[in-house]
């Protein structure tokens, strides 16, 4: 049974069970909430997906998100008329630079990805504090054209697919195409499954590392601007905090091997959808706040255990 089908089945079971317990969970307003939870996670997860395929990991994405969000916020403060697409481009550019720093640490200083990005997780957050001087970007700085990307979108049957989600799905589509048809994309799989064999075939590990981490950084930068659009403010301390854990969980639930070499965009996308459904379900069911985190962690573990059983069964065959 393919990994994607398991994820889909889990989502269906969850929605059905929660829907039975609280029918309002399946109402348009609640579905809107599920769809609004997704975009940031999807964009970040696509970047993480690329990194995980190479056998690496990027813990620093939440800090990159915050730095880009604050950076673009300050730009908008200085230049209130800045066109929205340009704001997005700036966010992506900032993220690209920070992602490049991650890659440089891993390739040139030969640091393990986990260690390198734990370091930059702190360092980039520190940079964010320094850049912002501790002040947050308030709603009055952010133009309505930006925040309306969260409220407006394509509506059908009372449900709205926000422009933010459209961006997220666009990023997912581009990632899928890149991995399937791009030479650089295929190189990520090659170095992730067997770096030595890849090298013998002339595929450069360092080049693949630069591509993966820089893209991951660029997407985290994009997510920084989307964060500003979604929440209407960017706080240097709380923006993107702990996002790396959610995103890595989404990628793992989606079936990508954390040791590298395999994973599908559809799987990761479904991983994001599952986490989104769980988060909204926990709030909608009115589960005692003191138990929510435990419930959330348990569901993630369950999803990954199911996957483990499936993989073992595959090996046995």
């Amino acid at each position: 049974m393919k990994r994607e089908w398991i994820a889909l089945l889990l989502i269906a079971i969850l929605c059905l069970a929660v829907g039975l317990a609280e029918p309002r969970y399946l109402q348009p307003r609640s579905i809107d909430s599920i769809l609004l939870w997704m975009p940031l996670t999807v964009v970040l997860a696509m970047g993480q997906h690329l990194v995980v395929i190479t056998g690496g990991i990027d813990i620093s994405i939440g800090s990159i998100l915050a730095f880009a969000g604050i950076g673009v916020g300050l730009l908008l403060k200085a230049q209130p008329g800045l066109p929205i697409p340009l704001a997005f481009a700036c966010g992506i550019a900032i993220g690209l630079v920070l992602g490049f720093v991650n890659a440089a640490l891993i390739v040139w200083l030969r640091l393990a990805p986990l260690i390198a990005t734990i370091g930059t997780l702190a360092a980039f957050r520190g940079l964010t504090f320094a850049l912002s001087k501790g002040d947050q970007i308030d709603g009055s700085t952010l133009p309505d054209g930006l925040t309306s990307l969260a409220s407006n979108g394509v509506s059908a049957g009372g449900v709205t697919v926000s422009w933010l989600l459209v961006i997220g799905l666009g990023v997912a589509g581009a990632t899928a195409l890149f991995l399937r048809f791009g030479a650089a994309g295929r190189a990520l799989f090659a170095v992730g499954s067997n770096a030595e064999a890849a090298r013998l075939r002339g595929v450069s590990l360092s080049k693949a590392t630069f591509v993966a981490y820089s893209t991951c950084g660029a997407l985290a930068g994009l997510a920084g601007v989307m964060y500003a659009a979604r929440f209407g403010f960017v706080n240097p301390g709380s923006a993107g905090q702990n996002f790396e854990l959610t995103v890595i969980a989404a990628v793992a639930i989606g079936g990508a091997k954390l040791t590298g070499g395999s994973g599908t965009v559809t799987g990761t996308l479904l991983g994001c959808l599952l986490l989104s459904c769980i988060n909204v379900a926990l709030s909608t069911l009115g589960i005692d706040a003191n138990w929510q985190l435990l419930a959330y962690g348990t569901v993630i573990l369950a999803a990954i255990v199911v996957d483990g059983i499936r993989s073992k069964a595959e090996v046995a065959r």
Binding site: S30, D32, L36, S132, G134, G232, N235, V280
Partner: protein, 345 residues
Amino acid sequence: MPLNFYRLTPVVLALIVSFGCSSTEPQTDSGPTPVAGAKMKLVFIPKSTGNPYFNQVAKGFEGASGIEFSSQAPATADATSQLAIIKEQVQRGVNAIALSANSPDALNEALDQAKAKGVMVLTVDSDLTGNESHRDVGILPTNFKKIGPAQIELLGSQIGYEGEFAILSATTDAPNQNAWIETMKTELKNPKYAKMKLVEIVYGDDEPQKSSTEAEALLTKHPKLRGIISPTSVGLAAAAQVLDNSGLYPGGAKATGQGIVLTGLSTPNQMKKFVEKGVVASFQLWDPADMGVIATHIASNKLTLKPGDSFEVPGKGKFTVEENNVVYAGQLLTFNKENIGKYDF
């Protein structure tokens, strides 16, 4: 989430700061160099630099005449950097120190030395809880016991004292939040609020994402909801964005009936946009500047105070000294369309 990698941030930051020699040097924010003279010298030591809240506190000091005011903020909000500033300022010969303490006990010795040299020590906004004897007077923002009732009244007056409402709080273990929620519950027993029903308390953990999801779920779960109180700035901003997006605020595009009234506690800058747009009609906070005004008054008049004393501050009214020599600086301010433009913090 269980693993908090970000807890490393302060550690690494501290390392970075301790290696960069200039960063630990206290920064002079304002104030002229001291000249020998009759003017009384007062220094304000906030928790850290670059915090708009303390800039607003400082405004209260700046307004006073007859004193020479300066502000010395540490680069990071830790007690050790405040320790250095306190010693340095005592050497400079200040007459009074107004301190927002970064630790309730680490500064005791330095403050005792200052007091021994005749320097008046006041705490502002953040007190030396449990170590009150090491300062003369503690000036705190407002009487926290009054926040809960004030919030209930603010919501009640906007929904005709009738209907379902919910509270969006921070974390389940936040002491201030829980104390305020308790006083709200007590206040609801007042017959005036008999028709107001608290249907749920939810927790957004002071995370924008979680707060938004919780606010959205409230709208899903309680179709008859008339109001939300969020006594935390992250929650209030997130809920305001949710109401703005959904158009369910009073007069909003998709409001059913009279719409959902949102109020809570936050700073004017964080809420300006929503108030101007009409998503939120009013919310509350104390004015941090009041603390500066009162500290200046106590210092410049060299008031020796003990619990039960009262004193008059021109333009601000009469204040009573509470237990532990605490003075509550002000009333809660209600911000709305008319006055929000006057504040910048």
